[in-house]
């Protein structure tokens, strides 16, 4: 399996993974500069970046990258007797934001068309896991759509309407019992104020606001991947987090162990097991 082809497949399917790339080696080492591997959220590693000696570290850092959305440079020193030092770049590859465009209107269709050119995922109805929701139902059930969108976790909720019409919709939601905190999340009119008027111009103004919004929040919580497995820092085994009993907290990070033996050894000298990375 070609790792980059697999990476392309996962990206196309909108599935998260971490990509590890060897950026430097000090011989002797079995990996070479430019070697790639993929770490899945399930803790599986595909590809060759130095074999069993580096695998546990790469998987652990890959899972961390998926959980916090940050890339990291990882140095593995002497993972095995035969190995020198390997330096890797581990990058989270999270799905592009998912935008729900609600409404069967020319404005909605135009926005869907333009959002696709940005390479974002676009749904033409409300999706519970959407990062952004734009309501362009143009008066046909705006209130219901907004209420449903606010009940979800979307970081951006925009309503396409004039400010006057928007105030009327928000007033109606207030009478339905929505609190001010929820109502304050609604951007209305949706989009940067460019003085636009055509469908295409409104779509550009909304996308520009979405890009700006995403820039202030590089990764929305909905995109991050809660790890389901962890790597035992002592023996390198994969441990399922749910229901794990052998755990230890060190420097604010929770570590998981295959058994009490590994946990005790870790507690006796955690630095010894963590110094392989920087």
């Amino acid at each position: 399996m070609n790792v980059l082809v697999e990476a392309g497949r996962l990206t196309a399917e909108g599935r998260p993974f971490a990509l590890a790339t060897v950026v430097d080696v000090e011989r002797p080492a079995s990996a070479r500069r430019g070697d790639h591997a993929i770490v899945t959220p399930e803790g599986a590693l595909h590809g060759w970046v130095g074999g069993a000696c580096t695998e546990s570290t790469v998987v652990r850092e890959g899972l961390l990258a998926l959980a916090d959305g940050e890339s990291r440079v990882v140095r593995v020193e002497g993972g095995c007797a035969s190995e020198g030092t390997i330096e890797l770049l581990v990058e989270p590859r999270l799905p592009t934001p998912l935008v729900s465009v609600v409404g069967d209107s020319p404005a909605a269709r135009t926005l869907v068309e333009l959002a696709q050119t940005l390479g974002w995922r676009v749904a033409e109805q409300l999706e519970s896991q959407a990062d952004a929701v734009v309501i362009a139902s143009m008066g046909q059930g705006d209130e219901e759509a907004l209420q449903a969108a606010l009940a979800g976790g979307a970081g951006y909720v925009g309503l396409v309407a004039s400010s006057k019409r928007g105030s009327a919709v928000l007033a109606e939601l207030r009478t339905r019992g929505l609190d001010e905190e929820a109502l304050a999340r609604v951007r209305c009119p949706a989009g940067l104020d460019l003085g636009p008027s055509s469908q295409e111009e409104i779509a550009v103004a909304i996308l520009a606001e979405l890009v700006a919004w995403r820039h202030t929040k590089p990764v929305s919580p909905g995109q991050l991947v809660e790890p389901v497995v962890a790597i035992d820092p002592v023996c390198g085994m994969t441990v399922t987090i749910a229901g794990a009993t052998e755990t230890a907290v060190h420097g604010g990070v929770t570590y998981y162990f295959c058994g009490s033996g590994c946990r005790r050894r870790f507690e006796e000298g955690a630095e010894r097991y963590l110094e392989a990375t920087s």
Partner: protein
């Protein structure tokens, strides 16, 4: 109307009669601009739209009456705010819509002129002695009479409106050629800018002196690809207030002559890509070439609104947003419009 030309041509080929409803003018906010068109065929098929969908049912009924021989008509859909929930425009605006039976003989020449970017207006006297005498008026032909001259004036301003000419009230639907967007620098950002330029209705030309970068594979969205130095290209190409010039090479060798040439035109938008440092260096080089601070202020650099754009596609969105902001200044109407 451009969006439904293909459908109109198909209906015409099938011999069906067609009624069209066109937005003539709008007050306050309205979902679509003057010129937006809804067409209804004899068999009840619908193409296009005049608003966001709120008054379409009423307009559809008017079109059916016109097809049944009811005659052309002007209709106003304006909604009191408290009624906005019930029937009309969610934006609380008012639209004036002209509904008439389209003369099938005008469809093909109209489509041909639009295709060739030849300025044309569809002219229909609504009331008065010439009522119903539909015709096409071209910018490059003798106007013939007062109605023709008035239509040419509106066409030059790119306006669609109902105007009074002597005893006639005349509906003039202008099809000005698409405005030009000139993209200099056949870089990745240029492909994204070309795509969104097309989306906004521009005729997009990508120009670069380096032939190996200027290929249709890289720029499928461009209307025209030109291998030439941008400054020379500008000297021979039409530029007006609607023209957008995007300088994207961020290589001084190409940018400096291109920007100097752009500043000699009356282009409505000039933007130049590059980091803050490149931008500052470029300003110094242009100053050394004798460009004044006033002229430098016409250049939007670094190009695009500050929205934190990173990918070429995001940069293209920031450029498009800036274009709209800069070029969408309110325009004075040249002809006196009739408020129906």
């Amino acid at each position: 109307m451009r969006d439904i030309l293909d459908t109109l041509a198909r209906w015409k080929a099938s011999g069906a009669k067609v009624a069209t409803a066109t937005v003539v003018s709008t007050e306050r906010s309205a979902p679509r601009d003057p010129g937006a068109m809804l067409a209804v065929s004899e068999s009840g098929d619908v193409a296009g739209s005049v608003t966001g969908g709120c008054v379409e049912p009423a307009v559809f009924e008017e079109a059916r009456e016109v097809l049944a021989g009811g005659g052309a008509r002007l209709r106003t859909y304006g909604i009191a705010d408290e009624e906005a929930f019930e029937v009309g425009l969610p934006c609380g605006g008012t639209v004036h819509i002209f509904v008439d039976a389209m003369d099938p003989a005008t469809i093909d020449p109209l489509a041909k002129a639009i295709e060739e970017e030849r300025p044309v207006a569809r002219v229909v006297p609504v009331s008065g002695p010439n009522a119903g005498a539909e015709r096409l008026v071209f910018a490059d032909e003798e106007a013939g009479d007062e109605i023709g001259r008035t239509a040419q004036e509106l066409l030059a301003a790119g306006e669609t409106a109902v105007v009074r000419v002597g005893d006639d009230e005349v509906f003039v639907d202008s099809f000005a050629p698409r405005p030009n967007m000139y993209v200099f620098g056949a870089v990745d950002h240029a492909a994204a800018v070309a795509e969104i330029g097309r989306f906004l209705g521009y005729r997009v030309t990508v120009c670069d002196a380096r032939a190996k970068f200027v290929t249709t594979e890289r720029f499928p969205e461009a209307d025209e690809l030109v291998v030439e130095w941008p400054d020379r290209f500008l000297e021979r190409s039409p530029v007006d207030e609607r023209t957008a010039i995007c300088v994207l090479t961020h290589d001084h060798k190409f940018d400096i002559p291109a920007l100097k040439a752009a500043l000699e035109t009356n282009a409505g938008y000039i933007g130049a890509m590059g980091s803050r440092r490149t931008t500052e260096q470029r300003r110094e080089l242009l100053r050394a070439e004798g460009v004044s601070d006033e002229e430098l202020a016409r250049i939007h650099a670094p190009i695009g609104l500050r929205i934190g754009a990173r990918t070429p596609q995001e940069v293209a969105v920031s450029v498009a947003a800036q274009l709209i902001e800069v070029l969408r200044a309110p325009k004075e109407s040249r002809a006196e419009a009739v408020t129906p």
